[in-house]
């Protein structure tokens, strides 16, 4: 199942996919190098990872046309692991991440994405954009003015080059930027940092190697705290990117297959000396924009990347870091959801709070998983609060029989239970109380307990209490948890009074 693909996913768009694949590969190289630097490993680790992940997800991924490779979100999570324990433990953690993701895929955890609301997704991508931008800052501090000039020039090329007629739309402007800045740096013999200064570049095709770590429980204790967030963040970003690609191409994707695909890709990356990665929002948008749709585009991106890297490593090392910074700033700007800022005024406050809270937590902790957790939690609380408002109680006194009928309408659950209890007038001396629950929904034990308390309180005041119209949903919960019809339980509940 994992390897079966429709023919049209591969061959439906051959020329478009190949061209888009080349454009993406050209943009992947600076990203892979930049993310390796973030993680604190040699650029080759990120480049091998990008090749491996792109190629494997092309075959086993659930979203044709999506680009996966080494990413900033993942790189940020591994910084301390690399610093404290070295590259081999990172490779082992990458393997474990893959295993966890495959398990998640088989457990169909991809469907949990439905709990991640729109504002959390927006917060996630905005935070990601900010993190990518912040990761460029070390390259821009304590440097000569040349670097600033080069970076600004690079950005100008990237955004203005497409306006040149004819060639503007057929040459990828990030490539033009890199080539131009490299030529300038070599020609003027500028003394600025280049890619070659950042560590080893690939000089051969990747080779299979098992991470050199002892297979002990201690190793597991070291890598597991890294693998779990890596797996979570990898799946989150992949699912979000898949949704974006779904929207852009108006086609469906298989999210659970994507989880398994990401897992396999990470296992492959770990075995070929690469770091963990996931789907990339910016690159996937570039791919779709360039006309890529099928699995072939992802495969081409990976293969072209490797070919260029292995055969052009001499030139690659001469690229000034300023050029990479310019490209990464572009990725950061492109990833940022501009409309979320424009629409801040239109959206309800709760939505904005969720979005901003997600961003703040991520930027603070450098861990997208925490941000999403906080975002989902806040969104759920806001939702519970909103639903809690959908409850009211009205009542009518029948003087002839000295009885009062309460009508409960709406949702009764932990959040509205107090409001529910407070709606009854226990001081009123009546003989009979009727509580009509026809149009009420009891969701949890809190609501059932609240109803019990109300019934018992009325009884203690000497009234007969009758419940009518417990609808089916409510009555199942009341039957299971209710105590008001069991006398021995009454004293327990009201014991404190």
């Amino acid at each position: 199942m994992l390897f079966l693909s429709k023919k049209q996913d591969w061959l439906g768009n051959i020329s478009g996919d190949m061209l888009a694949g080349i454009v993406v590969a050209l943009a992947l190289i600076p990203e892979a190098i930049a993310f390796s630097i973030i993680a604190g490993v040699d650029p080759k680790v990120g480049l091998y990872a990008s090749f491996c992940i792109a190629v494997i997800t092309a075959f086993v991924g659930g979203r044709p046309g999506m680009i996966s490779a080494a990413t900033g979100a993942m790189a940020l999570l591994m910084v301390t692991l690399v610093k404290d324990h070295g590259l081999q433990y990172l490779l082992a953690a990458t393997l474990l991440t893959g295993v966890l993701q495959i398990i998640a895929g088989y457990l169909k955890l991809g469907s949990l994405m439905s709990f991640v609301s729109r504002s959390v997704v927006t917060g996630f991508v905005n935070a990601l954009a900010i993190l990518i931008f912040m990761a460029q800052l070390p390259e821009l501090t304590h440097v000569t003015w040349h670097v600033y000039a080069m970076t600004a020039g690079g950005l100008a090329i990237i955004y203005l080059f497409p306006y040149i007629p004819v060639i503007g739309k057929s040459l990828p402007s990030p490539l033009v930027c890199i080539v131009a800045l490299t030529v300038i740096a070599i020609y003027l013999q500028l003394d600025i940092r280049t890619v070659g200064d950042m560590g080893a570049l690939p000089d051969t095709l990747p080779i299979f190697l098992w991470p050199e770590v002892p297979l002990t429980l201690e190793t597991l204790q070291i890598i597991l705290p890294y693998s779990v967030p890596l797996a979570v963040v990898g799946m989150l970003e992949s699912m979000m990117t898949a949704t974006i690609v779904d929207d852009l191409t108006d086609t469906p994707s298989d999210k659970n297959r994507e989880c398994k695909g990401q897992g396999l890709a990470n296992i492959g990356a770990g075995l070929l000396g690469g770091m963990a990665g996931c789907a990339m929002i910016g690159q996937s948008i570039i791919n779709i924009k360039s006309g890529g749709r099928g699995r072939l585009s992802t495969l081409c991106a990976g293969v072209f990347l490797l070919i260029m890297v292995v055969f052009l490593d001499e030139w690659l090392s001469k690229i000034p870091m300023a050029a990479l910074v310019a490209v990464m700033i572009m990725v950061s700007i492109g990833t940022f959801s501009w409309s979320s800022i424009v629409k801040l005024k239109q959206h309800p406050l709760s939505t904005n709070i969720v979005m901003v809270a997600t961003v703040i937590v991520v930027v603070w902790t450098h861990n997208l998983a925490y941000g999403v957790f906080v975002g989902v939690l806040l969104a759920s609380l806001f939702f519970a609060n909103k639903i809690g408002h959908f409850m009211y109680v009205e009542s009518k006194l029948d003087e002839a029989t000295n009885s009062r009928t309460y009508h409960v309408i709406g949702q009764v659950f932990f959040n509205s239970a107090d409001k529910f209890t407070a709606a009854f007038d226990f001081k009123e001396a009546v003989e009979k109380i009727v509580i009509d629950l026809h149009r009420a929904h009891f969701w949890d034990i809190s609501s059932v307990t609240a109803l019990d308390k109300v019934v018992i309180k009325f009884r203690r005041e000497g009234a007969e209490v009758e419940l009518i119209g417990l609808n089916e949903a409510s009555s199942t919960i009341v039957d299971r948890f209710g105590v008001h019809d069991k006398p021995e339980e009454i004293e327990k509940i009201m014991g404190g009074h």
Binding site: G12, G16, L19, S173, R293, M330, G334, F336, W338
Partner: protein, 289 residues
């Protein structure tokens, strides 16, 4: 209720066979007294890109711009296709009304034909479809790209039209005694479609004695049903060639047979009889599944 189920469904796409498909569908609908529905699919070919901008950069709001741009391009295309489809359906409707069908139903849907047909399967009594669509229109040695998947995924009778309409007089049943063809015989016996037609029950095999028995049983079944004139014939040689030659010689108008009773893998290795018949037969094939 009956108007929603048991329809004759004709798939039209504007290729040269569309008119023949309408005619055959009308013929069947009249003979079995079932409502007729015309179906036109708008397949969007999402696997190819509508626009391609190789500038490779992304800026503020790139994603939103791209979405809007893609949506606008596709909206234009789809509108055009919708319009074309409406015209096609209108022409087809007029044609079947002229053929004597009252109130034909027409339907236009988005998506792939195979998926739509699977969804509609329960309401289909007979599916009428051209052997090749617009893509392969001028390649007489090819069958439509989706035809095999359609035949394999549906379990309803499918009439594959490959020639201009001629009201069938003589039909040929390709009979090999397998379960699929046994069922085909049963269906032919009970359906009003075949009443009054001459039926050639043809078997291609080497073993004479066993064949004789098989044919006899089948003939008696058909004769008991009444209204069908039956002749039998035993042929030798390669089944597809022998059947096609026989069809030529006796001026058979329609071939009735089972279809794709083997798995895809079996057919991949050994070749599929149904596929050969689809390519070689000169007259419409009614595939009973």
């Amino acid at each position: 209720m009956n108007t929603n189920t048991n329809r004759v469904l004709a798939c039209i796409d504007g290729s040269s066979l569309t008119e023949a498909v309408c005619d055959y569908a009308a013929w069947i609908a009249q003979r079995v007294d079932a409502p007729l529905k015309l179906l036109h699919m708008i397949d969007h070919h999402h696997e190819t890109a509508a626009i391609s901008d190789l500038s490779g950069n992304i800026g503020l709001g790139s994603q939103e711009h791209l979405l809007e741009e893609l949506a606008a391009v596709e909206q234009q295309r789809s509108k055009l296709r919708l319009q074309q489809g409406k015209l096609l359906l209108q022409a087809a409707k007029e044609r079947v009304i002229q053929a004597g069908i009252t109130n034909p139903d027409s339907n236009q849907r988005h998506g792939s034909l195979v998926e739509s047909l699977i969804e509609l399967e329960d309401s289909i009594r007979v599916l009428v479809i051209g052997i090749r669509g617009k893509v392969h229109e001028n390649q007489p040695d090819k069958i439509g790209a989706k035809l095999e998947s359609i035949i394999r995924s549906l379990h309803k009778p499918i009439l594959v039209v490959n020639d201009a309409f001629k009201a069938p007089q003589r039909i040929m049943i390709a009979y090999d005694g397998s379960k699929a063809t046994e069922k085909a015989i049963d269906m032919v016996a009970i359906s009003p479609l075949y009443k009054g037609l001459t039926c050639h029950l043809v078997n291609v095999s080497k073993d004479d004695a066993a064949t004789e028995q098989l044919l006899e049983a089948a003939v008696s079944k058909l004769k008991n049903a009444g209204g069908i004139e039956v002749t039998t014939k035993k042929l030798q040689g390669k089944p597809d060639q022998a059947l096609c030659e026989y069809q030529d010689k006796h001026d058979i108008d329609m071939i009735v047979m089972g279809a794709f009773s083997h798995t895809r893998i079996h057919d991949l290795l050994l070749g599929s009889f149904t596929a050969k018949m689809l390519v070689n037969a000169k007259k419409p094939l009614l595939l009973l599944r």
